[in-house]
């Protein structure tokens, strides 16, 4: 693999995470998740439980969280599924991290629409901020990953940082966001030049008469 995750030493992770168990709060959530599926179909809870576990690991380590092997096995035991079946799920989805990540997991989309709209600039901004693809900055703040399409093509280019999308980026805006995050700020997620969702830039370009109220266009059809 081009960017295979550097999975930490097994003995060490077992020593550190071998006694992983839900916190009281997450136990409630886990029970709620398990309750969604009928008896005998506990395997369906794999993904939500893994997500919960990853978040708990994140909370414990002050990072975005990852899934050490003992934690994966813990989840497998929760739903009585062979370890291998859960491990397959973890490796399949890129949202699950097989290696530790930093406080902020910066996922830059580099697929065609974002690339055409300037994802190279976004990556350059990350690079100049000291972020390295597939690696974590020495202060443990950022982990940079280039990912495939995250489904926000209308607002390209974009990055996903932790649970938020930052859209309509360029070099400066990316730098700004990273700086803000590094300084403990809370940059606003979403489009970065003031539009709402994927509305056209600079106000409506079509159906303008419908901005304030409903308008019957049928009479105007030629």
């Amino acid at each position: 693999m081009a960017e295979a995750p550097k999975i930490p030493d097994e003995a060490e992770t077992r020593a550190r995470w071998g006694s992983f168990a839900w916190t009281d709060e997450n136990q409630v959530k886990a029970n709620e998740i398990l309750g969604r599926y009928p008896k005998g179909r506990e395997q369906s809870a794999s993904i939500p439980l893994l997500d919960l576990a990853q978040r708990q690991v994140g909370a414990e380590t002050q990072t975005q969280g990852w899934l050490p092997v003992p934690v994966i096995e813990f989840v497998a035991r929760q739903i009585s599924v062979p370890y291998m079946r859960v491990y397959e799920v973890v490796t399949f989805y890129t949202m699950f991290n097989l290696a530790p990540v930093g406080r902020f997991h910066v996922q830059v989309c580099g697929t065609t629409p974002c690339m055409l709209r300037g994802s190279d600039d976004v990556l350059a901004a990350c690079k100049n901020r000291g972020l390295v693809k597939g690696g974590t900055t020495p202060d443990g703040m950022f982990t940079l990953t280039e990912v495939e399409c995250l489904g926000t093509c209308a607002n390209a280019p974009m990055v996903q940082i932790n649970d938020d999308n930052f859209e309509d980026l360029d070099y400066d805006k990316t730098t700004e966001i990273l700086e803000a995050l590094a300084n403990g700020g809370h940059p606003t997620p979403g489009p970065q030049f003031g539009r709402r969702a994927s509305c056209p830039e600079g106000g409506p370009t079509s159906l303008k008469a419908m901005v304030d109220a409903n308008h019957d266009y049928r009479g105007e059809w030629a």
Partner: protein, 664 residues
Amino acid sequence: MPLVKVDGVEIEVPQGATVLQACELAGKEIPRFCYHERLSIAGNCRMCLVEVKPGPPKPQASCALPAADKQEIFTNSPMVKNAREGIMEFLLINHPLDCPICDQGGECDLQDQSVAYGRGHSRYDENKRAVTEKYMGPIVKTVMTRCIQCTRCIRFAEEVSGVEEIGAIFRGEDMQITSYLENAVKSELSGNVVDLCPVGALTSKPYAFEARPWELRKTLTIDVMDAVGTNIRLDSRGRQVLRCVPRINEDVNEEWATDKTRHAIDGLVRRRLDKPYVRVNGKLVPATWDEAFAAIKAVNAGSSVAAVAGDLVDCETMYAAKALLAKMGSSLLEGRQTGMDYDATSIAAVNFNTTIAGTERADAILLVGTNLRWEAPLVNTRVRKAIKKGAKVFAIGPETDLTYKVEWLGDDLALLGALPEAVTEAFGKAERPMVIVGGGALKGGHAAALKLVDTLGLVKDGWNGFNVVHMAASRMGGLMLGYAQKGGIADVMGAKLGFFLGADEVDYSKFAGFKVFVGHHGDKGAAAADVILPGVTYAEKSGTWVNLEGRVQRGERAVFAPGDARDDWSIFRALSDTLGHTLPFDSFEGLREEMYADVPALRHQALATFEWNPPSLTGAGEGVLAGYPIKDFYLTNAICRASPTMQRCSAELLHGEDYAEAAE
């Protein structure tokens, strides 16, 4: 039943058949990689594409498409030819061109099918994908770059062996087949993935770079590692057996074999007894056959002579010994080396009456003191199949991992007389109930288990649910030939002269007489013997074996014995001359005729029928089962104990010794 047209020929196919099966019924060959008759359908290799009308105007994967009435299937249209060539080209994109150094070469599905259905050249010009090797244990060698991701091995591990330790990690181009965290796969059936793998990704580790398939002589014979009687093919070159693979026999082993069956063969050339020995002044010294025979004659045992059959011997050997003893005036025959003394007056009461294939149809199963996974792994896979069809399984004995869900009742045999309500209720509802009694429970539990025949209604029209699992290949044949004394082996221990036919599990300290060991491996029996007469292994003789369900099967000789070793029956024939009790047969065929006259059931290669008239035994079940008879699956007889592969399996898989790949 759907009526389909395959290439213009109308054919009726069974309900539920797939298009691929319909094509096969019509005699058309459909290339495939991921589809396998005994595994679930995956449909991911796309090699089996055919054109189907009515349907979308594109080729369809025949393995996953149900055959429907009035369907028209084309297997040789231009569209199909084109599709196959395209798929083949895709599969070969990332497949290395290393056939000359690949062990699968010559028996590789990918090789054969690319010759038959491929384009003959590739248009691919980029770098090929490479995948790192994965560690899967002492049996399976991996070269994962060759993998085409058919997922047969994953499905086998999940569905047949029940050890879900193989899986596919990552996705898309990065997908890799691996064992969990690259640990050894802890399955006694792991060798079967080597046969299943259609390419050279999973090959046999002990057989690596040993031979090419076309230089091997193939001999059909029967496995003796357990009492299942797996049908095998021994591949040999010169005087050495290089490989053992299963043959297909739906009634016995389907197409599986255990790792022990496959890989104990490297023990056939180690620790062999290749010349006679005579004990002189407490030490075994090499001797000639004449000296060895003279030493036996000098015992002057008269009629105080006994024969003890080991676990691996064939019926012919046992008959030859029996005939010699009869001439000498003795009938002290015993085969149950470890001291079992269950009642063998009615063989049906110690037979696997349901038959191995019949196990699949059972709907309630009670295991009594048997670790089926080790005692008869291929019966265990049938139980798994029965569970898939809805059977419920209970077990009495110490808890162990049988690869399926079992309701453990406890380990006290007294339970047989007082089964919990859950069991009686499940058996009450069952149409085809089954009780499987293991060797561990026969002592102390035989009578009580036989009583269950009435209380649980095990025997009914066309169904006999009483089963005993034996662990020795020679056991059923031995019982048919009378190798059983009332008091077990204790009854024969007083003889002046004892013939031990490859008997390595006997407690020799209890036998005070003159010990003659007729066997092939220098193991416990040979160490205790006064005279050693070198015999042959199952690979070096033709013979008859009866498996645990009473199936009479014959094997052929694959290779010749080393040194001075001789066929066991001819040893007894020659010895009979020296002792002055000349046996009445001069050839193997002559012996067989005599044997058939003695036990007619051995004449036909079929399931022997035993009349169901169980002895009336008294006694309730008593005793707590502390463990199971087999302590180490990989080291159960002299051949596997001599096999480096089996020793390594035992050390690594059962005793947790770490063999890092780096150590190789």
